[in-house]
């Protein structure tokens, strides 16, 4: 027997690319983040073969929690087929041996940038969101040390000053993506640049959401069944983007988050942004057997937690 036979077979990389210490670091930080919902936990963000700012935070989380039996879906702005999504998915699959899918119902881990699926996620699923800027207070407090002090004191009054300014100047809240939310009545959190449409989906969700910023080296979490409330006034309410009257030209879906596509004649047509969902609708229309789960918003645009989204009279200035 030779030494070479006793040694483990030579490998170019550890399982899931990251070495064991790196994965253990991320897993420990994830546990801490889950224990303190919405609190940003610093972690040792490693170098990956993609550039910082291109999803390294989400990728490290996915690589740390994935095992060979997982099924991974990767979303980029709702799409499964964009260059970034394809690259990340291929990398994850090659490094971990997971199966991949575009079906939100089949996936166990969903890594996403800028969107949450239209179909409701269920218990046991993990949503990993890529975060460019984890600090929701950045807009009102550029000094990060002071911002941390404000988090420690739960002193978020300045955010409401920002809301006041928006209502005075524009009549409504102007924050589009990454609308700040308060998690578990305690920490102010940036939900990553998901549209306002997706923000309510985090509230009392059955799935675990992990948010990770690789460049900023911070990760945080929304555990299952946790309160997530967008900041608003008691008399001026948070509103989602109005999708009324928009019909997806591919699938006929209504009251889902739509991409606006300008046409040569100056008009607009709409496509539902969640391509995995559209694909299933199209297949069902062709007569194929597909299981389509319940969606967060029904076809009338009603959110599945009654009373969470409130109607607003037009002008209150």
């Amino acid at each position: 027997m030779t030494l070479a036979e006793l040694a483990r077979p030579a490998q170019d990389y550890s399982y899931a690319f990251l070495d064991e210490f790196a994965k253990r670091e991320v897993r420990r930080r994830i546990l801490k983040a889950i224990a303190i919902p919405g609190h940003q936990v610093p972690y040792a963000s490693r170098e990956l073969p993609i550039a910082r700012g291109w999803g390294t935070g989400g990728l490290q989380v996915t690589l740390s929690i994935a095992g060979p039996h997982d099924i991974v879906k990767v979303i980029d702005q709702g799409a499964d087929d964009s260059v970034n999504a394809v690259n990340l998915r291929r990398f994850i699959a090659r490094m971990t041996g997971v199966a991949t899918t575009s079906d939100a119902q089949l996936a166990t881990i969903i890594q996403s940038r800028h969107r949450i699926t239209e179909e409701r996620l269920r218990e046991g699923q993990v949503l990993v969101l890529q975060v460019p800027d984890p600090e929701p207070l950045r807009a009102v407090e550029p000094n990060i040390s002071l911002a941390r002090e404000m988090h420690a004191d739960a002193d978020y009054a300045l955010m409401w000053l920002g809301l006041y300014e928006q209502v005075v100047r524009f009549g409504t809240f102007m924050t589009g993506a990454s609308y700040p939310v308060v998690v578990h009545q305690r920490y102010l959190m940036s939900p990553s640049p998901i549209p306002r449409w997706d923000t309510p989906m985090l509230h009392q969700a059955a799935h675990l959401t992990l948010l990770s910023a690789g460049r900023e080296k911070r990760l945080y979490a929304v555990p299952p069944y946790t309160d997530v409330r967008p900041i608003e006034f008691e008399d001026v309410f948070f509103q989602v983007e109005n999708q009324q009257g928009r019909i997806c030209e591919q699938s006929g879906a209504v009251n889902k988050f739509m991409n606006e596509i300008p046409q040569p004649d100056g008009s607009m047509c709409y496509q539902a942004s969640d391509t995995g969902y559209v694909e299933k609708l199209v297949r069902r229309a062709r007569g194929e057997p597909v299981a389509i789960g319940a969606t967060y918003y029904d076809d009338d645009g009603t959110f599945y937690h009654p009373g969470y989204l409130k109607e607003q009279e037009p002008d209150h200035r």
Binding site: A157, L158, Y164, E165, V167, V168, F233, E234, D235, H316
Partner: protein
């Protein structure tokens, strides 16, 4: 049948609202404030005069709990804070006290205002800090406070950078009085304004002080301002009080040599 007994002077019957003892503050080796005692009674205006560098503004910063003194006791006769040395408050209580009970107007509006936030937003900030979360309430309170400080309401949603100096001071004043504080601190509120605007702002200050009946400390090197507003006056030099008394008394019949110089000094 009318009573022949005279009312006792108020200063004998009422307790001071604000009481500070042995205030001392050094900046390096330089004593900015060296053992100053002062009392302010409810509804009274106390003027502090002195040349630049005499420690006037430092006293206001200490009383506004912006800085910690080297030594000193500071009490306010306000429910919840009675009998506590306010210099020993933790930062939560300190913040709550400052938001609720102390209003301040700085000489330089850059210190007191957020220049990129609308004027009404600057005023509303006070209420937001105090926990108000209804937009309509914030809006109305901001409008009322700006109106009380005679700010032109048509411009309430302009940012302070676009306003004249006098208007900026009115916004600061509105912010200071938005929650009807117990103590109003004025740090050279009219310095830097031209004389006609100064007169108008002084008028407003005087009216608000009378209406709110708020204990006020005004710091100025301008004896005219002190004479107009203050009931009592402290004269300071090199961090010490050299003379104090009723305004008319001190300014018309100064006893201390330095005060005599100060009163006599005219350009």
């Amino acid at each position: 049948m009318t009573s022949l007994a005279f009312d006792l002077p108020r200063l004998l019957t009422t307790a001071p609202l604000l009481r500070a003892r042995r205030l001392t503050k050094h900046y390096g080796a330089i004593p900015a404030v060296a053992g100053v005692d002062l009392d302010v009674y409810p509804g009274e205006v106390l003027g502090i005069v002195g040349e630049s560098g005499s420690g006037k503004s430092t006293i206001l910063r200490l009383l506004n709990l912006e800085e910690a003194p080297d030594t000193g006791d500071y009490t306010l006769t306000i429910d919840g804070y009675r009998g506590r040395n306010l210099f020993t408050l933790d930062r939560y209580d300190r913040r709550a006290l400052r938001v609720r009970h102390i209003g301040i107007v700085y000489q330089n509006p850059l210190h007191g205002l957020r220049m990129h936030i609308t004027s009404s937003g600057n005023v509303a900030e006070r209420l937001i800090m105090a926990g108000e979360r209804r937009f309509a309430t914030l809006r109305n309170a901001a409008r009322d406070a700006l109106d009380a400080s005679e700010f032109p309401l048509a411009r309430m949603d302009d940012i302070p950078r676009r306003l004249s100096g006098g208007m900026q001071q009115r916004v600061q004043l509105a912010k200071a009085i938005a929650l009807q504080p117990m103590v109003l601190l004025l740090d050279e509120p009219t310095t830097g304004l031209d004389v006609s605007v100064q007169a108008l702002v002084l008028d407003t200050l005087k009216r608000i002080q009378r209406e709110l009946h708020v204990a006020t400390i005004i710091v100025s090197h301008d004896l005219g301002v002190i004479r107009t507003l203050a009931d009592r006056v402290l004269v300071m030099r090199h961090g010490r009080v050299v003379e104090h008394g009723l305004t008319d008394q001190v300014l018309d019949d100064p006893q201390d040599a330095y005060t005599q110089q100060l009163v006599a000094a005219k350009l």
